[in-house]
């Protein structure tokens, strides 16, 4: 490990007592707690951190914050890796490993830099103009392009970390913990209002952490610490450092990402999540998000060693890291002079200040001159030199109006060029919220103008750049927001914190800095450093007609990188505006979208992954099924036994065994998941009349009826059996998948369309466990469990129900059947489901009782030609299509009836449900296969229908199938072709009922 060659001997907010080691591009370095990866790299004199995406030119650290376009690195390796970390926001921890992205073999020597030679061929949008010939090769070109594109690499394994999410409500959310935000939080917090203060940095203070300001006569950093402590002491105030508010959505809903343990590195974080997503509903929002310095756009402005002025200042002041040894400042404004003064104070030689303004007269320039720093006014940087690090710059005098340069170029050796073109308020969240920005011509920046929600911008984020103004504005915003939610401070009136500031003159002109020679020919003027978009690209786009800001963005990719153009967009707009003879007010700006900085997918997913990704609904008997070897199928969220596999059996064997048992002796099935709706009230029958296709008024108490429910479009939506429990009391059953939907459907009609009906409905699905016994021995077994009801066919016929005691449990018995067998559905309170099931299994052993999965049930019902909603129907099928006209009353209105009479819906020749018998009895048609008239035809081959259900029937000793076929009912006995992989099969259309056509078993 080397010396930290560029570390200052003292100062900064780093903890020298806690040295840390880290590795960058395979080399080992040292840093301190409190460093960012960027500050530590600078402290070690590292200049090249990556390569530009297009021309692969070397790039260095450019900023000290979230706006960083260049220093995007791959952090850690393997499953822990992070693809595109901004070194300026990565807090250093011991053992950190980082590498540059998108360069090979290394950032220092990148073969692809040869692309730079081709750069004249790669203007904006070049790929739209070429690679079209030959068409067959595009996929090859594309593969090459894809490999060259992209920055970091995805991890190679599942994420070892956990993520958390939390919802929070507050009266006032303050975003940004700089002077404006702290003042706002103090003013709101002291009223007792519920306040959240979030800042993306590791400590509160914002810009105060980077400088030497004074507040209320004391060092600002002391004031900051005290303010943070006071906020911590307030019960209803929550301070969230390391928390980026990244999205401002409708109705004052904001989302923030807290980096809980990222700063500890990929160690075992114990019970803590890596990151936490805060979902914040705020009554009032104060945006104290500060400002981002913007770079001047000049020739060769991308070299390592060129850095934002405020960043250079931050590195020496906050991190005690010297970004260079000999610096030049290039600015159009007073504020940046502070950087020169601070660099000088940190023993960086300041060779000169180049100011584009002809006569800077402010206090700060005066201070610089009196510190003996050479001031080169009315000049501009026109060229830069140095391969992997800046070695010199050239400056020339600016002509009148600043449009061109003239005279001798003066060369100034330096290894740091600190640049400033003024400041852009961080108005991202304000704009996301729907707020309108206005172009401020003096500051040449976009500032918040008209809020769309309960939002107040304050401080630099509102274009108020001086410290005293930030404090006052923040304080006022905090007090006003609290007052608006009815929160008022008790006790002594408090005063806003104050500061004395050095006044600043307005900044100079902002746009492309001219250079000698052809404006498009010389060294590139980079605008978007990450996406390698140059001023020439912008000019080209405008020339070709991509002149709206949105076209410009998309054609050049300006502002589309991981930094979303935080340092590039306004520069780009200014250039475009100048080309069109307007200003940014005229061009407008592109849309600010969440997230403010990239947000981890894992955090957005939260704990809704793995076993918690969705509820798996299980019946009370589930664990029994599991132990019995059940394979489950997902039906909605439910887990249903699909078939029970015995040792040595395959699925077909298991299903065959189950089917035979049900027909020959006794099957038992868990039908708990069927929806059950308890319906009570004097108008219950009327409700049923209106939602079902058949008539209900005549159904006697103690009896059940099957029916179809249609959508208002006339299509079958659900089916089921409803029992009349009492005079005004019914129990409706629904399909498993539609249980919630049908209940909601009934409620909707009752509440919105038929409020006059006196009916209440309630779901009782989960109250009951439902066990179905079916097969010739069903009655016999059930009789062993119940003594208080006559199970005989006379007393308890098919489609009747009885209250009974089963195994000592108060139960409801329904003689309904989905298998065509003698069958009882036994409903007992869910708590007894497992117990009764187990008792049935024990007692039924002598009959060879066999649990049936859904597959066997489906085979058995298909043998009977019974439909399954969602299998025989698909939202386009009417009762008539199913051959179920018999269930449709013509004497009353019901939902969907009117639609049945429409011309297409009533058309003869629609697809109708039929049975299919393959010529080859062993052939089980694939479900979903299509029927065609002429299989030999060249495509497109018109389909005449498709197979909806198809099984091997052990009971019939052959295959059976159901199908929807055009005009099917009129084609009984006709042969059709079923198109199959590699040929066609012949089948005969027949009635869909294959088994026990008389229904004697059912009624037996």
């Amino acid at each position: 490990m080397r010396e930290q060659s560029h570390r200052l001997a003292e100062g900064g907010r780093i903890d020298r007592a806690t040295p840390l080691r880290f590795t960058f591009n395979g080399r080992r370095y040292g840093g301190f707690a409190g460093d960012t990866l960027a500050s530590a790299l600078l402290a070690n004199g590292v200049s090249v951190v990556g390569r530009g995406v297009k021309y692969h030119r070397p790039r260095g650290i450019f900023s000290a914050g979230s706006e960083e376009p260049n220093a995007v690195v791959q952090l850690e390796t393997g499953a822990h890796t992070l693809a595109n970390a901004r070194a300026t926001r990565v807090e250093l921890y011991d053992g950190l490993v980082a590498t540059s992205v998108n360069c090979w073999p290394s950032a220092e020597y990148d073969f692809a830099a040869a692309l730079g030679l081709l750069s004249p061929l790669l203007p904006a949008g070049f790929y739209y103009k070429t690679f079209k010939w030959p068409a067959s090769l595009w996929m090859t070109y594309e593969a090459v392009i894809r490999r060259a594109a992209g920055l970091g690499r995805a991890p190679d394994g599942p994420d070892p970390d956990r993520y958390d999410k939390i919802n929070v409500h507050c009266d006032v959310l303050v975003v940004g913990g700089g002077p404006a935000g702290l003042a706002a939080a103090l003013a709101a917090g002291r009223t007792g209002a519920r306040v959240i203060l979030a800042d993306e940095q590791n400590e509160m203070g914002g810009a105060l952490l980077d400088g030497h300001d004074e507040i209320d006569g004391a060092p600002a950093q002391d004031w900051t610490a005290e303010a943070a402590a006071r906020l911590d002491a307030m019960d209803e105030v929550r301070c969230l450092p390391r928390t980026t508010v990244f999205g401002y959505y409708h109705h004052n809903f904001l989302a923030a990402l807290e980096r809980v343990t990222d700063h500890l590195g990929p160690q075992d974080a114990g019970v803590l999540p890596r990151q936490r997503l805060w979902r914040i509903r705020a009554r009032k929002v104060i945006l104290a998000t500060g400002a981002i310095e913007r770079p001047p756009v000049f020739a060769g402005n991308d070299r390592p060693g060129i850095m934002l002025a405020h960043a250079a200042r931050t590195y020496v002041n906050r991190y005690a890291a010297r970004p260079g040894r000999r610096a030049v400042l290039f600015t159009n404004n007073d504020g940046a002079y502070r950087a020169a003064l601070d660099l000088r104070a940190a023993d960086v030689e300041v060779a000169a200040i180049v100011d584009t303004r002809p006569e800077p007269t402010g206090d700060l320039p005066a201070e610089a001159e009196s510190a003996d720093i050479e001031l080169i006014a009315g000049h501009a940087v026109v060229a830069t030199h140095g391969r992997k690090r800046l070695s010199a710059i050239e400056v020339m005098a600016l002509g009148d109006g600043g449009g061109q340069v003239s005279g001798e170029a003066r060369r100034i050796p330096c290894d740091l060029l600190a640049v400033s073109g003024g400041w852009n308020p961080t108005a991202h969240l304000f704009s996301q919220s729907g707020g309108r920005l206005r172009f401020d011509a003096t500051g040449a920046c976009l500032v918040p103008a008209v809020a769309a929600q309960a939002t107040r911008p304050a401080g630099a984020g509102n274009g108020t750049f001086a410290l005293d103004g930030c404090l006052a504005e923040g304080w006022a915003a905090g007090a006003a927001a609290a007052a608006e939610v009815g929160s008022r401070a008790r006790g002594r009136a408090a005063k806003a914190p104050g500061a004395t500031v050095t006044p600043e003159e307005p900044p100079g002109d902002y746009g492309v800095v001219p250079a000698p020679g052809h404006p498009e020919g010389g060294p590139k003027h980079f605008v978007d450093l990450q996406n390698d978009v140059t001023a020439a690209d912008i000019a080209l786009a405008a020339r070709e007609g991509y002149g709206s800001v949105e076209h410009l963005k998309r054609y050049t990719t300006l502002g589309m990188g991981t930094d979303q153009g935080k340092t590039a967009n306004v520069a780009g707009l200014a250039i475009l505006a100048r080309l069109g003879g307007t200003d940014v007010a005229g061009t407008g700006h592109t849309t600010f979208r969440p997230p403010y900085t990239p947000v981890t997918f894992g955090a957005l997913a939260g704990r809704d992954v793995g076993a918690l990704s969705d509820a798996a609904r299980r019946t009370p008997m589930h664990h029994w099924h599991e132990r019995a070897g059940a394979r489950f199928e997902d039906v909605g969220q439910w887990k249903r036994p699909w078939y029970y596999r015995h040792p040595g059996e395959d699925m077909a064997g298991a299903v065959e065994r189950e089917c035979l048992a049900a027909r020959n002796t006794l099957g038992i099935m868990d039908a708990t998941t069927l929806g059950k709706i308890d319906i009570q009230g004097p108008d219950a029958a009327e409700l049923l009349d209106r939602v079902y296709t058949n008539a209900w008024s005549k159904l006697e108490v103690g009896r059940c009826r099957y029916s179809l429910m249609l959508g208002e479009d006339g299509m079958v939506m659900d089916d089921g059996v409803t029992a009349r429990l009492g005079r005004h009391h019914y129990l409706m059953t629904t399909t498993t998948g539609n249980a919630a939907r049908v209940l909601a459907w009934l409620e909707e009609w009752l509440q919105t369309e038929w409020p006059e009906l006196r009916v209440y409905v309630a779901s009782v699905t989960e109250q009951w466990a439902t066990i179905t016994l079916c097969g010739p021995n069903a009655r016999r077994l059930l009789a062993e469990f119940t003594g208080d009801v006559d199970l005989g066919t006379q007393a308890f016929p098919f489609m009747a129900w009885r209250a009974a005691t089963v195994g000592g449990i108060a139960a409801r018995l329904f003689r309904v059947s989905f298998t065509g067998e003698l069958s009882f559905e036994i409903n007992v309170p869910a708590r007894y489901g497992l117990g009764l099931w187990t008792a049935f299994m024990n007692a039924g052993e002598k009959y060879g009782i066999t649990p049936l999965g859904t597959e066997a049930m489906h085979v058995l019902r298909a043998e009977k030609g019974y439909i399954i909603v969602g299998q025989e129907t698909d939202g386009t099928v009417t009762p008539a299509d199913l051959g179920m006209d018999w269930i449709v009353s013509s004497k009353k209105d019901f939902i969907g009836r009117r639609s049945l009479g429409r011309t297409d819906t009533a058309r003869p020749g629609r697809k109708q449900l039929v049975g299919l018998e393959t010529e080859d009895a062993a052939l089980v048609l694939p479900e979903g296969a299509h029927l065609v008239e002429n299989p030999g035809q060249e495509p497109p081959v018109p389909t005449i229908g498709h197979v909806t259900s198809s099984y091997h029937s052990a009971n019939l000793g052959r295959s059976i199938a159901l199908a929807l076929v055009k005009g099917g009912r009129g084609r009984m006995g006709e042969a059709v072709h079923v198109a199959l992989e590699g040929g066609a099969a012949r089948a005969v259309i027949r009635d869909p009922v294959f088994f026990d056509v008389q229904g004697s078993r059912l009624h037996g």
């Binding site: 409708h250 909601a744 409620e747 509440q751 009479g901």
Partner: protein, 93 residues
């Protein structure tokens, strides 16, 4: 992320609700009396306005009630929430 004022429960997060589309679409009293075109109008045709809109919501994960909301479809500002059967505010008819 809308904050929807349920007339019974007060303001609740959008995730507790389901939207039932345009409000005040009357089901023809006698479906047989209307033409196919009028029936199609009832079934499918919607105003879908850009701006002021009245729509139905149900507080599924709350009180279970259907109610109406007057909402602007661009700004999402909610100017009123009113119960089924009540006249929309500002509606004289």
């Amino acid at each position: 992320m809308l904050l929807i004022p349920c007339p019974w429960c007060g303001r609740r997060d959008e995730s507790e609700f389901a939207c039932g589309g345009e409000a005040h679409i009357a089901r023809p009293a006698d479906p047989d009396a209307v033409s196919d075109a009028e029936w199609a109008d009832y079934l499918f045709m919607r105003t879908n306005p850009k701006g002021a809109h009245r729509e139905r919501w149900v507080h599924v994960h709350g009180c279970g009630r259907w109610f109406n909301v007057a909402r602007h479809t661009v700004t999402h500002d909610i100017s009123a929430a009113y119960k089924v059967g009540e006249k929309p505010p500002g509606d004289a008819s």
